[in-house]
Amino acid sequence: MDKTLTLPATLDNLESFMALGRDAAVSCGMDDGAVHQVELALEEVLVNVINYAYASSPDQAPEQDQTPAQETDQPVELCCTCEDDHSLTITITDRGKAFDPLDKPDPDTNLSVEDRAIGGLGIFLAKHMMDKITYERRRDKNILTLVKNNKE
């Protein structure tokens, strides 16, 4: 059955979401390595929602906002479903500005230290760690779906 958690999109709540995702991966029969990959992808996606989805201007971190997310209506919902023990489907839903992370070009991982950007690896790592990621904008919601298959 589905396991879901909805909380304000704040860094304080990251660990609660992570605990649910980890638990869902473990109880879906994932091995250590796969649980780690799910954790990593989930953190990357959640942290982006926390950092950017409700920021008042693009690329502005929420620290600059006046009201903390608790008090306004800035939820993020995590839903984890284990499909017959053969795959785990995770959806992350927010009501922030429309943003399709799959549109972002991958970073160039061959650059030297001097030329590499600080950051820009989150979405890239999430894509690498999961078997499938899809994005959907439905009404005022961003819905990102991550799928991880169980190894046979």
């Binding site: 990251l14 250590d32 990357e44 942290v47 991982t109 030297s112 230290v113």
Partner: protein
């Protein structure tokens, strides 16, 4: 997340343990930033007790690497387990960082 720091033969040795995620990364950045700001520039970071690193942690590492590069310093890493090595590999960090299996090898390389 905890950080331990010691100096060994003039090399700053930092042990990271636990999880470097978006919540703990700023603290790590500050701690290691302090060491570099003191003008120290030979650094080894031992990952053997690190369980998890996300892009927030990679961000800290690239920041450190850039600073040390700018001050003509040297940085080496050691003790990465397979999960963490995978994250480095995907990100192209295995080409950017000097990574050694053991602390001894890393210290020897930095000592030269």
């Amino acid at each position: 997340m905890s950080i331990k720091h010691e100096v060994l033969n003039g090399i700053d040795l930092t042990f990271l343990s636990g999880r470097i995620d978006a919540q703990s990364a700023p603290g790590v950045n500050e701690e290691i930033g302090k060491i570099i700001d003191e003008g120290r520039n030979k650094m080894l970071i031992n990952f053997k007790d690190l369980e998890y690193i996300s892009s927030a942690g990679l961000r800290v590492l690239i920041t450190i690497a850039k600073k040390l590069k700018a001050s003509s310093g040297a940085l080496a890493l050691c003790g990465l387990d397979t999960k963490i090595y995978e994250v480095f590999d995907v990100s192209g960090f295995t080409a950017i960082f000097k990574i050694y299996d053991t602390q001894e090898e890393a210290l020897a390389a930095l000592g030269d």
